[in-house]
Chain length 885, copies 2
């Protein structure tokens, strides 16, 4: 039935086409191409409205009733298009997902504890149970993810950052990835490894948004809007963080800091709305499940309100901040080191590539062995889960109140921190040191997992360590006059958690997340001070964890300009631009086109008036030119040529018999011929879609099949034709049919040219002047002046999500700058006046990336490969076309 | 001495000029013009470095010592250039200002109370004291501001929004304004009127940043960077809010929401850093002054932590949100109504214009009479100051616990809410109603004042009212099972405050401000829900208060696209663009230039290749063309013409005597002549600076004198010349000298042309072809395609801060879109297919602006006037030039 519909649809198009053939065909063909590209998407809408029309014409018994129903339906559907419906659905869905995942994780962890507790009698069995459980879960998670959707591995924030930058990453927003990510994450976290759920939840929320958008587009056309989808993805990132921590404000801010370069304040409310709703539902579910009495914070603290901290404690908070800065940088460095080590060791690498699940299993085995509570785990509170550890660390009681090694009343989980022989400071130090490298190692396991929560816990432990030391040092508090206010180590833990996680992610909004997580804001100033100091230190030493992963994964990205590197204002576009621009002229012939396409590599080509004037008229996408060329050399034109030749032959024969009718005939033929071209053009587009549609939506519809377009060189063409003529190979024939679909009326002409004739004909065709009428030209590609500063160029590129920009001087094209050059310039590989442009503390950073040279070249290769996915600018006609419905 | 310096400087330039005259003069003149424009700014730097050089060459006794000192100084100065130094200074300064202002206000309010309390015996005297005090203060404030700097009147946020949009508002960032704003604000708030300090503090912080930037530029050149200054202004706005409420996070978010359209996440840390530091110092000052024991929130609350609210209370919070939304919209509407009423009533208007201080005095008299505590004030807690009222409203005790009209233990200021005859609900309702219109009226008084705080208090009172009602309705709380948790009306007050202030300002971040103000985040979900609902309602009814003031004040602005008005995607640039573009061709003559300049009104003119091809080559600023024209017709050229004539005459005489030296001579002359032009060009620029430098910094140096350039029509030129020739008027002579300064070598030639000769000569000059070599052309003006959607156009305009963009079709200029057209299109005055494009609820908004038609035309007039101040794009040469030092 669907096929019938499709057919009907095409028929409708052809009718409208016949009806319009008097229009100028160039314009018409363009419109038609755009229309056809959307046809698949619009079909459902059209079908529905057609049904409606039919119903209204149908004067049956309960027609009125039916019309009414349909109208109601229509109204509801129109409502569905509104943003807030989408955001509420998204929030609801994510809250449910988050809650279910949390629930499953809790069950998994409980099961492990139960097993471990039940085998109390035999230590060896206990160990086996303690170790096997996480190994199985992690291995399953890794295997499942690997098989279903390898894109689900890891955090997801780096990918979302890249996608929001305007790059389309394939398969990152599919249903498969969603399933793999959710199940993989649940298993990974259920194993009790030091992994987090924040990053994956950003990805899951984006997946949700993308899938929901796809689902909603069944009801209304509004979901086709590309820029809207990007906005929704940004909101989804906020929802991800928001429902993970029940932190709507922190979620919005964190997602903005982590994923965006420029943020439209216009979209601010979307994030707040969706994240608030999501966090609300997430907490309501907890109340409904009788876990909580009412909606409160996730890790509620009960510090005193009247005197949260003394002014004289601020230096200690500042120390936490600075130390966390160094610690954060070290964490990022360590993580990258581990990855690079694993990659470099060829033997290990080779072995691991064969047995992909061995690495996760081995790492898990090592990590869980170390945390085995009767073993080494007893010195590092190994039996606590991440959540339990955090709750005890944020406790408002002081552990070392009565001095070291004395008895103090640990209740509940806090007992894990106490060891008969070793005092609590040693336990804390061991916990911090061990968890530090363990977390850095754990996040390299190829399962869906984040690093935020482990880092957060380590930071809390560090803060608690400093706080306990302070409490031991000043047993009666620092405040001198009047009341005794003892020091609250829990407050230090809060500060430490915010500072370390802020340092690792290079964000300030961890402060807000901390407030929302603990439900107390009384430590706002210490937290802010520590977070800012930690950021200052960490940012000058290392990239953020997410940027580091972007580099490791070699995703296409544009690095940020650092803090106040004013020397970069010195570089101008003329210093970095590529002067050897590939261009085509307005009056070039197809041979030039062919040559340019063979040599260049940029995705779009500049169109200039002439080689002498070099006045830039616009840019044309490579694919457009390829289709122009293949059209010129294609079978359609050849058949037409044969037909023309036949007509001419006939004419020559009948020239004596009826000279009057000749004029008419040729006129009609030429009309037909021009029309023929346009038909082919329009039927051509859907089968070989232009793969580089500008500003491609991140939420791409799967209905558009992406197919790598090859350059149809003349030899290829000949080859194909030869085959179809000589052989009866059904596959080749199908390909041929693919090209000539929709032109059944051509069957009357016989393709009787020999290969030689074809080659000759093609040579002749190549010498013809290019007719750009049917070609989609971007008439206003982005232009820069040669003296534009690097700073401004970077701003414009990030603001508009450009991929490249032409450099012009009074209308004349003199160069081109692409992301590649810009990235090189920012990374300092371009020298100006002999001096390398580098951030002041970059030398330290270098030692971390010893293979930076290698990496850069690799990166460039990958960049070029990835570039085929990245799509810079919006094609305005198609966009406006889409919205005109 | 400064003059000497200046002279020296010029000499240096001329030397370097002589050294470079072999260069191509067109390029050279451009560079020179850019250099001279900055010369004033760079001088200090140059002088200093020269001193340094001198010192290093000086081999005196303690030369080494001196060199060391100088180097230290140099190092220190280079450090001064770093952002964080500036931000710390800014934060420190603003904290001090905020604290001093608060201190003075507190003293003023105390004085009033003391006077009022002292005259306890006589009610009439008491009334006089109660009324006179604010009247005097407000009148003084209004008068002082009026005399010193009328720009200081009002909030300042609308102006900052406009400035951050890229528009330069004159005199808004001067020291005078700073003094007027600080003193005016202190007096205004000291009077006890319902006015706030938030908006003015945003302005004051920006003033501080601008002045500090100016001051710091004495030490280093980095402060000349324009985009940096804009970034610093954005940070300053955050500091303003941050140090006003001791709310760093809320400050940053609020300032972003209120002032920006697109926010660079890159600059995020600046705001956080400065605002945190500022808030910290502000609170430390309070500790230091023994007001507080340690750093805590400004309006600390002590709600219970374990069960802040029940789930079943959420509908009540939602009701507060929705009602606040309507209330906020009503407030904005009421405020605008009052302003429009005052403007329309011609009689009142005329009278008030004469006696400017009468309006403030009258309003104050009325308002203070109504709050007179023994009078009507007793029913509305009239004797409480704003701060006291807020503290009592946020109290965590329930006022109506024992039911209505019963005795309950109000302590301290809370007693003011109790009235023997009337119950507390009536008091609250009266308070809300009275304060509502009183605040809307009070903020129309022309003194520096904001509306945030009054609205905040009203919101808190409304929330308290709902809370008390709930407490009266459910005396034992709503929670059914187990413990009794009574309802906390203080929590409702917090929610109400956030919701109403959020509705009036259209921001979500008031939620964060509320948390930071109260020091408790336990009510996060109710607050977020209420704020979002309030925003949703208010935004669909009215513009925000700041946008409303922008409209009232007719500042140049670009309205936001509303929530999901997808029909706007329908409009394309071709529907709104102006097709009749003023342009000049590359080969036009000066007469064409003259005509175009006389007719057009846009700030820049398009330069096309020819009238036939219409290929856009770039755009030229009007002022550039004017200077080209005046140069062509100026006295310099005329004198040169006379000299040439004389030389020719001489040549003709000496042609027989030495024909060989003739060639040399003419060659030298022509060289000299060309050089002469460039000299004039360069010495010309500083005296008549091009007033429309692209992307003018908001922090403009005062050294650049702005002088309205008039179009030098040929008649004007003749006039001036006539005068200098015929009269000995010293003023005219000075003007003339002004024009020819730096060309003393011309004095040898006698200007002996008659008026008739001059007119003839000018006619001849006008027919010459324009030489664009010395003209600064923007080679890449922003271009759009005719099918660009309105949505995208709006995005691009706000992202890049554009003023206009050319519409091109494959290189050909076909139209121009300026902010004006865009604004019109967004506001819906452009019809597409006969349907007005309007937001769905705009009809309600219309009734508010009944005179919208009038206003629009007025607005356009003003717009054109203002446009002379607005400067859209960065001129890259000058920018990069600036940074090259």
């Amino acid at each position: 039935k669907l096929k019938l519909m499709h057919h009907k649809h095409r028929v409708e198009y052809q009718q409208s086409m016949y009806g319009r053939y008097t229009q100028e065909l160039g314009v018409y063909a363009k419109e038609e191409a755009a229309r056809l590209r959307e046809s698949g998407q619009r079909r459902s809408v059209r079908d529905r409205s057609r049904t409606l029309d039919l119903l209204e014409y149908d004067k049956g018994r309960c027609a009125k009733c039916r019309i009414c129903t349909v109208r109601c339906q229509k109204f509801l559907i129109s409502r569905v298009g509104e943003d807030w419906i989408f955001l509420i659905l998204l929030g609801l869905l994510m809250a449910l997902v988050s809650w279910v995942v949390d629930f499953c994780i809790a069950i998994c962890l409980q099961a492990q504890k139960w097993m471990y507790g039940g085998l109390d009698s035999n230590v060896f069995l206990q160990y086996l149970a303690w170790v096997t459980y996480p190994v199985v879960l992690i291995t399953f998670s890794a295997g499942f993810t690997q098989i279903l959707a390898p894109q689900a591995v890891g955090s997801g924030i780096p990918e979302m950052k890249t996608i929001l930058r305007g790059v389309v990453l394939k398969e990152y927003l599919t249903f498969k990835t969603f399933v793999a990510k959710v199940i993989g994450l649940t298993c990974a976290l259920g194993s009790g490894m030091p992994l987090g759920k924040e990053g994956p939840f950003v990805h899951i929320a984006s997946l949700c948004a993308a899938l929901l958008s796809k689902f909603m587009s069944l009801f209304g056309g509004i979901y086709e809007n590309e820029s809207r989808n990007i906005e929704m993805l940004a909101a989804a990132c906020a929802v991800g963080v928001g429902c993970c921590f029940a932190a709507p404000i922190g979620g919005v801010l964190f997602s903005i800091e982590v994923t965006s370069t420029f943020f439209a304040v216009r979209n601010y409310w979307r994030g707040f709305f969706a994240a608030t709703f999501s966090a609300f539902i997430f907490r309501v579910l907890a109340v409904w499940n009788r876990d909580e009495e009412t909606i409160t914070a996730l890790f509620k603290t009960r510090f005193r309100l009247d005197f949260p901290f003394d002014l004289q404690e601020l230096p200690a908070f500042a120390v936490i901040g600075i130390a966390s800065g160094f610690g954060g940088a070290l964490f990022v460095y360590l993580n990258r080191l581990i990855v690079q080590f694993m990659r470099k060791q060829k033997v290990i690498n080779k072995f691991l590539m064969k047995k992909r699940l061995l690495y996760p299993a081995l790492v898990t085995l090592v990590l869980s062995t170390l945390t085995f509570p009767p073993g080494f785990g007893q010195f590092m509170a190994g039996k606590l889960t991440q959540k339990e550890a955090l709750v005890t660390l944020l406790d408002n009681r002081t552990w070392a109140k009565q001095g070291i090694a004395e008895e103090f009343d640990y209740i509940g989980n806090a007992q894990a921190w106490r060891h008969p022989q070793v005092n609590v400071f040693v336990t804390l130090v061991l916990f911090i040191v061990m968890k530090f490298w363990m977390s850095a190692l754990a996040i390299t396991i190829p399962v869906p997992s984040g690093a935020f929560m482990p880092v957060f816990v380590i930071g809390a432990a560090f803060g608690r360590l400093v706080g306990e030391s302070m409490a031991a040092w000043f047993p009666d508090g620092i405040h001198t006059d009047g009341t005794i206010y003892p020091i609250v180590p829990g407050g230090y833990a809060v500060v430490g958690a915010a500072a370390l996680s802020g340092a690792v992610t290079h964000t300030v909004s961890t402060a807000v997340i901390v407030f929302e997580l603990t439900g107390q804001i009384s430590h706002i100033l210490p937290v802010m001070i520590a977070v800012i100091l930690a950021n200052a230190v960490a940012q000058s030493l290392q990239p953020s964890l997410y940027d580091s992963i972007i580099r490791i994964k070699k995703l296409p990205y544009l690095p940020e300009l650092g803090w106040g590197h004013h020397e970069k204002y010195n570089i101008r576009v003329e210093d970095i631009m590529v002067r050897d621009v590939r261009y085509i002229t307005l009056n070039c012939c197809y041979r030039d086109l062919h040559n340019v396409l063979l040599t260049g590599q940029l995705k779009t080509l500049a169109l200039v008036e002439s080689a002498e004037s070099m006045i830039l008229l616009g840019s044309i996408e490579r694919a457009q030119l390829q289709s122009l060329l293949s059209q010129q050399l294609g079978r359609a034109r050849r058949l037409q040529y044969i037909r023309e030749r036949a007509v001419e032959e006939k004419k020559r024969l009948s020239i004596v018999s009826d000279p009057a009718s000749d004029d008419n005939g040729s006129q009609r033929t030429s009309q037909e011929v021009r029309f023929q071209i346009s038909t082919e053009e329009s039927s051509f587009s859907p089968t070989r879609p232009v793969p580089h549609k500008p500003l491609k939506p991140a939420l791409k519809r799967p209905s558009v099949v992406e197919r790598p377009t090859e350059l149809p060189t003349s030899k290829n063409c000949i080859c194909v034709h030869k085959h179809t003529q000589k052989t009866e190979n059904p596959k080749e024939a199908r390909i041929e049919k693919f090209y000539i679909s929709g032109r059944n009326d051509d069957e009357d002409v016989e393709d009787d040219m020999t290969i030689r004739e074809i080659a000759e004909w093609e040579e002749r065709q190549l010498d013809e002047q290019v007719n750009f009428n049917n070609c989609k030209i971007d008439p206003a590609p982005f232009q820069l002046v040669e003296r534009t500063s690097l700073h401004k160029t970077h701003t414009i590129f990030s603001l508009l999500g450009l991929d490249h920009a032409y450099v012009t001087s009074i209308g004349r094209l003199i160069g081109v700058v692409s992301l590649k050059e810009l990235r090189k310039a920012i990374e300092g590989s371009v020298t100006v006046k002999g001096v390398k442009v580098r951030p002041p503390l970059a030398s330290f950073r270098d030692s971390g990336t010893s293979s930076s040279e290698n990496e850069t070249t690799e990166l460039h290769k990958l960049w070029d490969r990835h570039k085929s996915m990245s799509l810079p600018r919006e094609s305005t006609p198609s966009e406006s076309e889409e919205k005109s419905q």
